[in-house]
Structures are given as C-alpha cells and as structure tokens.
C-alpha cells in the first residue's frame, strides 16, 4: 500500500478506485496471472489514459472493472466505484451499473455492433434497458444522441444498419450507445485504432467535447502515447500486467521516470506526424507465464543492473511537482529523455539516443 501514499485525491472526488487488482485466467496449461497488483484511480470529470504494448493487460483491466472477464477468471483486490466494491456486487447489480455508471466502447467498429439490427434499435435498446421510456421517447432521445455525436441526418441514420455506415460513423454510433444511459465513466478501449488518422483526430475531439459537456470521466486505453497525450490529463503505464508508471501527462512527457515509458515515447509515430517507429524497443512483451524475476522489463532494458533482479514496488519519485509513481530501481538517478522540454516538443530527428546510453 505504500506505493499509493502519494495519491493526493480525496475520496469524494474519486470515481473509480482500483486497488491491488490481480487477475488470474484459466488456460489449457493451468492458471496464469494476467494482472499483478494494479492500482490506479479515475477522478470525477477527468480523463485518464492507459498505455502499454499489446498484451500488457489494458483490456483485461477494463473488462475486470466492468465484470466482463472471461469465464473462470479469478480476481483479487478491490474495484471501488463511487465507493462501492464492484467485486462484491451481484450480477444483476453489475448489469444495472453497466451503461448507467460505467460504459465501455471497443476498437472493432465493424464487429462491435449487431449487424442485423439498426443502429437506432441498438441505441434505444440500451436506453430502454435502463429507463422506463416509451418507444417514441426512446427514438427521440436516440436521434438527439446521434446528433450529439456528430452524425449528420440522425433521423435517417437511425434506421440504417451498421454496414451502411463508415468506420468513423459506426464508432460515433457506438459512442452514442455508450453515452445514452448517461454513465459517469466511459472506458474507451483503443477506439481509434481501426480508423484513419483524420477520423482518429475527429473522434478524440468528440470524446473530449462530450466528456467535458456531460461531466463524464474518460479512461482512454491506447498503445499510442500520442493519442493519450491528446486527450488525457493523467496517464497510467502498464507493462506485463503491472503498473510501471503513473503521473500527469505533462510530467510524463517532460520527464518519463521508467525506461519503458521513455522507450514507448520514441517508438510510436506521433499524432499528425508521418515519422514511423524511430526507436523501437528491442525484444517483446513476455508472456504472462514466462515473466522474468524482479523488474519485468529487465530483459529489454538498457539500464539494467544486477539489483534489478529483485522485486520492485511502485514508488513516488521526484520532490515537488505532481505525484509521480514509478516502478524502477533507478528511477531517481536516470534522466530519461521526454518528448517535451519547457513546453516545446522535441524534434524527433534530434531525439536523444535512448538505446545504448546506459551507465
């Protein structure tokens, strides 16, 4: 619990409080641990990003919050929403919370909507699942919602099927579906990964606007730090099922505390730029059943020292300034390159060499 000491939030403004969440899944080779002691909070009316490479456990964290894990999953820890532990809730209570308290949108706009019902039917159904409204009223609210997510000619679009909409429009329809029950928290799992860059920027704008206007907190999951930086005030970095860094977006961009975060920043093309993969992090995310001892990033880290083989806790770094938790033995001594210096974005061509600049 000591790693949470720097959380400055008061309970009243904390909407979602995930504490020491561990997740174990049943596989043909036995039970494997997917998440290890994951803790983070989402405040009311704010935006939090969660980043990490594929397989780091982002989606599993989100699904655990919604109680939508695969069958036979085992979870320990606490997931408190408005102070109530979701893990102790009944199925029926959880079903009532989904859509009205917490909603989630997904990446695949092609398959995430039912192909044989109109988008109007699907959005109205969510509303009618939660509120006693007449069909007519549901239809009116649906059209309003479609309008709010920027779908032109919403009355007509209402009667169309998902395949008649473009990818970006389908994603907007899914956002409408997620928000019609007026949830306080929207979890967006890579909502822009499958659309092109222009649409991506529009969707991020839309999420930002809707979140601000409706006071909805947004937890944005992405492997792209640029997408998260665009929208989110705070960032949680996940690696191999553990939180390795958590702080404000500004602090993270300026002075990443974990070699993995720094590597991520230089590994992905930034929003609006065409520069691809400047410095890919070598190696791959280890499988959940083949984790190294101690720091899980050790085999891929250029700064590793023998002490890194010992278990490391998430701990606060830096003195003054915003809270900043890092899970790295050398967090205080390393001065890792960020993307931003004194508010100006670093030029990618002059990127400090992350690799091979070990001690």
């Amino acid at each position: 619990m000591s790693e949470l000491a720097s959380e400055s939030s008061t309970p009243s403004e904390t909407l979602l409080d995930v504490r020491n969440l561990s997740l174990y899944l049943d596989t043909p080779d036995g039970e494997v641990q997917i998440l290890d002691d994951v803790s983070f909070t989402v405040e009311r009316s704010t935006t939090v990003g969660m980043i990490g490479e594929s397989g780091s456990g982002k989606s599993m964290t989100a699904l655990a919050v919604l109680g939508l894990l695969p069958p036979r999953a085992r979870v320990t820890g606490e997931i408190r929403f408005r102070g109530t532990d979701l893990l102790a809730m009944s199925r029926a209570e959880l079903a009532r919370l989904r859509g009205t308290g917490i909603s989630m949108i997904f990446q695949e706009p092609m398959t995430a909507l039912d192909p044989v019902f109109t988008i109007g039917q699907q959005i109205s159904q969510v509303l009618r699942s939660h509120r006693r409204v007449s069909r007519r009223e549901a239809r009116e609210k649906t059209i309003e919602m479609l309008d709010a997510v920027g779908i032109p000619d919403p009355a007509r679009r209402c009667g169309e099927y998902p395949h008649q909409l473009s990818g970006g429009m389908r994603q907007r329809a899914m956002i409408a579906m997620a928000l019609i029950g007026e949830p306080e928290l929207l979890i967006a799992d890579e909502p822009t990964t499958a659309v092109d860059i222009t649409i991506q920027a529009q969707l991020l704008d839309l999420l930002e606007t809707l979140g601000r206007e409706r006071g909805t907190s947004i937890m944005l999951i992405s492997h792209d730090i640029g997408v998260v930086a665009e929208l989110c005030r705070r960032v949680v970095v996940l690696y191999a099922g553990q939180v390795v860094e958590a702080t404000t977006t500004d602090a993270l961009l300026e002075r990443p505390g974990h070699p993995y975060t720094s590597g991520l920043m230089w590994a992905v093309p930034r929003l609006g730029t065409r520069r691809q993969r400047l410095h890919a992090i070598r190696g791959r995310v280890p499988q959940p059943d083949q984790l190294p001892t101690g720091c899980r990033f050790r085999p891929r880290c250029d700064f590793a020292v023998p002490g890194c083989a010992q278990p490391i806790a998430l701990a606060a770094v830096g003195g003054e300034g915003p809270e900043h938790d890092v899970r790295c033995r050398r967090a205080d001594e390393l001065d890792l390159p960020g993307l931003v210096h004194d508010g100006a974005e670093a030029d990618a061509e002059n990127a400090p060499a992350v690799q091979g600049s070990g001690p």
Binding site: L97, G99, I105, A112, M177
Partner: protein, 314 residues
C-alpha cells in the same frame, strides 16, 4: 434489388426447366417400357407396337418433350396407365395429406429443435448440453421409418393411447386430426429436429461470443434481451438454411413414413406407381414435389433478406 430478383427468377425457371427434362427422361432412364406396361405381358409385338404409336412413343423425342411440357403448362400431367385417372386428380387427392404431414413434422422439428439448441448453447459443455447433443446425434442416425415403427409399437400397440394407422385432417376434426398426426409428425420431424437443434446450438455459441454481444453487455443490455433478440436473430440465418434443406428431407421422410402409418398420401401413390411402372404418375408426382421444393427455397431466400439486411434483395 430488381436485378437480384430478376436473377433469382431466371435461376428458378432454369431449375424447373432442368427438372422437367429429368422427369421427362424418367421414361427412358428407368427400366421398363410403357407400351409393354399398357399392352400387358402376354401382348404380341404387333399389339405393343400399336400401343407404342398410340402413346406417341414413336415420335421424335423433342416432339414428345414438347407435348409433355405443353400438357404440364396447361395443368395436364397425363393419365395413369392403369386406372386412366388423370394424374392431376391423383395429386390433388394425395398431396394435401402429405403436405399436412410435412407441415406437422416441420412444426415438431422447429418447436423442439430451436429451444433444445438454445438450451444446449446456454449450457455449453455441461451435462445437459451433452445429453442434448447425444439425442440429436441419435436423431440424425435413426431412420424415420424405424422410429415410426417404434412409436407405433409403443403408443399405439402397447399403450393403445393413439391410433396406429389412418389419417384425419386437423381441418376436418382437430382432436382426431392431432391424435392421428402426432406419431407420424414425430417420426417425420425427428431428423430435421436433430439437425435444427445442432445448427441452433453451434450458431448460438458462435453468436454469443461475438464482439457485439460484449458491446451490449458492456452497456447493460440484459442477458435475456441479448439471447432472445440479438443472438437468436443472428443465429437464425444459418438455422433457416438448415430448415430450408430439411423441408426437402421432410417431404422425402413423409413419403416413407406414410407407408408405416398406412396413410395413402403422395408417398403411397409414388411407391405403387413406381412398382407398376405407371410412368405418367411417377413423372407427375416428382414434378409436383420438385416444384414445391423450388417454391420453398424461394420463400427461404425471401426470409433471408428479411433476417439479414446485409443481403441485397432477393
């Protein structure tokens, strides 16, 4: 939409044309000579030759086919070589019974098969699922007539709760009609029920793991609505395909099961006509059955477009 419809109609007409050629060719493909059949075994070659020319069997084959089709298009399927009864009358007498049995079998198959399939899918890989799967595998393996015999021996002979033979239409007498049709309907519907249950199970399992189901759960749509509205409508697309195939099989099954229950339907007419080499009757009955199957398939296609908006028109 219009071009799709036109294409569909063209393919239906081509199917019927092809079927008419095959049916016409029965006279030449099946052993036995109609002229011999009519003239009798003891007839002299001269008598046979006379009958042959009377029947028009000496005319060029294209002319014979033309005459056959001309008749068909005018509702004339010829007359029985034995009873001289018009084939149309034979069909009109026997077809309604058979169709009533086919529909009864279909009702049994759908009413039992779909709920069984859903129940198995909801409890996938449990004991209940295992039982349902075993039953449907057995249902596919057991021949209809054999199942019919078992039903008769248990319900009609041992327990004597239902009539063993005969036919009463539910339109004439609902109670007697049901009593007479329950066992044949079960016998006819068994295979189709098993096939429908299987297809429903696998389709439901697949649909329930689809991304859109996760979306709906994430937004708090109740499980009841997800299963009975969304999953079922999506799963019904492959299930309808199976039902379409089953209707053809049901007609075949009815033809066989009728004999078990001593019902003189289309099947009885076909069987006796075949053994007697009564070619016009065989041709007429088969043509009618083919026509029905084609119509059913056309209706299934219409049903598809209603179920699946991604399909462009009929």
């Amino acid at each position: 939409m219009v071009t799709a419809l036109r294409r569909k109609l063209v393919s239906v007409l081509l199917t019927l044309l092809f079927a008419s050629v095959m049916v016409f060719a029965i006279t030449y493909l099946v052993p036995g000579d109609p002229a011999v059949v009519v003239a009798g075994e003891q007839a002299t070659p001269e008598q046979i030759a006379l009958v042959r020319s009377e029947l028009g069997l000496d005319d060029p084959i294209v002319e014979q086919y033309g005459r056959f089709m001309w008749g068909v298009l005018h509702g004339d399927l010829g007359t029985s070589l034995f009873t001289r009864e018009p084939v149309v009358d034979i069909v009109a007498r026997t077809l309604p019974r058979t169709m009533e049995l086919v529909v009864a079998g279909l009702v049994v198959a759908i009413a039992a098969g779909i709920p069984l399939g859903i129940a198995a899918a909801m409890r996938a890989r449990t004991a209940a699922d295992g039982v349902i799967r075993a039953v449907s595998t057995a249902g596919l393996a057991i021949p209809n007539f054999w199942f019919g015999l078992i039903l008769v021996s248990i319900f009609a002979l041992d327990w004597a709760v239902l009539p063993a033979t005969g036919f009463v239409s539910v339109f004439d007498d609902p109670v007697e009609g049901l009593a007479h049709q329950v066992l044949p309907a079960l016998a006819i519907g068994l295979t189709a029920m098993a096939a429908i249950a299987r297809q429903t199970r696998s389709a439901m399992i697949e649909v329930l793991s689809a991304d859109f189901v996760r979306t709906q759960r994430a937004m708090g749509v109740p499980a009841r609505a997800i299963v009975w509205q969304h999953a079922l409508k999506n799963a019904s697309i492959p299930v309808v395909t199976i039902i379409g195939l089953d209707i053809s099989r049901l007609i075949g099954g009815a033809v066989v099961v009728e004999t078990v229950f001593g019902i003189s339907g289309l099947g009885g007419a076909l069987v006796s006509a075949t053994t007697q080499r009564d070619f016009p009757v065989v041709q007429g009955v088969i043509l009618v059955v083919v026509f029905l199957v084609v119509i059913v398939n056309l209706l299934i296609d219409v049903l598809y477009t209603w179920l699946d908006p991604r399909i462009q028109g009929v």
